[in-house]
Symmetry: C2
Subunit: 334 residues, 2 copies
């Protein structure tokens, strides 16, 4: 016995109305007499009819699904954003097609193509890196796209994030204030605008404010993982730096533990400020001081922005910077 899919046509016949009417009640169109609506609803229940979203998508040209491109769900930062996105998406009856892109541009392009082929109504991009090919691809589609947790360095795309430059500048200034002369900047790929452009600019700005000369050897680039943090700890230790700003909590935890294992006392000998305030910052000992990004909110607001764009609504602010805070725990003095 094959799955006898029952269609809008079946209910129409059974209810003695036209399929147009059934379509109307299913879509909540008010132009239906209450009694016919009830009749149709009854048949729908009786036949256990379920609208086919694919057919609906083809006919209406709206898929009610949005694509999400992120480097890796496994990273707490991206997962939190995704959670925010998913929650407001659900609120607006959208579904999420999620794609892990890793760091490869080719993969990102492939993934975008995929999403577009599926006729997603919009996409949210959390990849941090972006090159010209990808930018062109974004530009060549009419499908709305918003960046979440990162900013296009050309500001061409709508985005929701925090002011990364300012956040880092604050962090570094704080570190300098407590007496550190040599502060390290530890981040994921410098190729990514968030790191190479905004965060690094904040770092340099703070140095300048404090009349400290920028020292290239204090900039550490690494993979975005706990193990990578552990690994780079010894390099940092031998750099003579006495403090560091780190762009990712996983990396920061690695640096913290790596340094500690090397006999470096945190925060007495070395101070650390991390970036995302995920649970990780509270799990490690000493607990990490951190920038507080409203991750969930970034995702939620990005999704909200996207709904507006998809509806063709005017949005006055296409590049939204949410407020951030700082929390000082045990990895900083004072």
């Amino acid at each position: 016995m094959e799955k006898q899919t029952i269609t809008i046509y079946d209910v129409a016949r059974e209810a003695g109305v036209s399929m147009a009417t059934v379509s109307r009640v299913v879509n909540g169109n008010p132009n239906v007499k209450p009694e016919t609506r009830k009749k149709v609803d009854d048949v729908i229940a009786k036949l256990d009819y379920h609208p086919n979203a694919v057919a609906r998508g083809l006919a209406s040209k709206r898929s009610t699904t949005i694509g999400v491109i992120l480097p890796d769900v496994t990273n707490a930062f991206f997962a939190s954003l995704a959670r925010g996105i998913d929650d407001v998406a659900a609120m607006y009856k959208y579904n999420i097609i999620m794609e892990n892109s890793d760091e490869s541009i080719d993969r990102k392009l492939e993934v975008l193509e995929n999403l577009l082929a599926k006729q997603v109504d919009g996409v949210i991009y959390m990849g941090n890196s972006i090159d010209d090919r990808l930018r062109d691809a974004f530009k060549n589609t009419k499908t709305p796209i918003v960046f979440a947790g990162s900013v296009d360095d050309k500001k061409a795309m709508p985005s929701v994030s925090i002011d990364y430059k300012e956040a880092v500048k604050n962090s570094i200034s704080k570190l300098i204030e407590t007496g550190n002369k040599k502060v390290a900047f530890v981040s994921g790929s410098i190729e990514e605008p968030v790191n190479g452009k905004y965060r690094l600019a904040g770092y340099k700005a703070a140095l300048k404010d404090n009349k400290i000369k920028f020292d290239e050897s204090l900039v550490f680039e690494t993979a975005r993982s706990y193990d990578a943090g552990i690994k780079i700890a010894s390099e940092i230790a031998s750099s003579k730096a006495t403090a560091a700003y780190v762009s990712d909590d996983g990396i920061a935890a690695g640096v913290l533990n790596g340094l500690t294992d090397l006999g470096v006392k945190i925060p007495e000998d070395f101070e650390i400020i991390s970036s995302n305030n995920t649970d990780i910052t509270k799990m490690v000992r000493p607990q990490l001081s951190s920038v507080v990004q409203p991750m969930y909110d970034i995702g939620a607001v990005a999704m909200r922005l996207l709904t507006k764009l998809m509806n063709g609504e005017d949005v006055d602010e296409r590049n939204i910077a949410l407020p951030f805070e700082m929390v000082f725990r045990q990895s900083t003095k004072d």
Copy 2:
């Protein structure tokens, strides 16, 4: 200028062939003369034609997307499974529609309905809880469903996981071996079969093997989060237990830190074994001993199983138990 979507028909006309032929080259059907294939490919490139997956889905009755239902991406365990799923899905050209269900059964039902309406070709379920309504819903659809990282307590659904009972039994036995008379069992909701049925059974089995009487007051049920772990630590401390098996790394980290803050020395005064061996276990100090679940593999194998089911292939083993290991770090003696 509206986005003039160009269709298979445009390509056909421009290339001087029928749409059937275009469809063939797009789908890699071998029955096309190389030269016509080339001609068509050229036109496709020239017109920048992109197949519409929705239309394709409607016509072929296959959406090449699979639905994933998980409690919360934000949990490292589920995120890791999701990663495994996504990677092999990509390998087989499937896309993932991800839905966070939290713990609510109603939400799960709603989410499943959604997925089915979108005509997903299969679904992977990682929710741990399952009640009769949900079981019925699963049973009433022809869409293949596989459980990942959890087992249907009635074994009615295909699943991929580890032998949770055995894993816990090993853990508890080890704890008893090192001299602990009172070992606590700390887990997420006991309502979930993984916890209430399998894990708890392993706990009891180990007690029985060692002729220790089961003590209800040593069973702690809590939310699945770091903060919840912190909170329950004091209760555990006053229970006189000297060791604990914990079902989630986040909870375990909370218990560990909570206990430590209470002045309890780990592992001297209290031993802990956790369950998922996520990075968390290595970030905390002392590092957590843990069951090692091949999380990524569970996801990957589950997805692979699903592809077989979707192809109607025979599978001899519908309930797969992947091997697990134990890693002993600093939260256990010896």
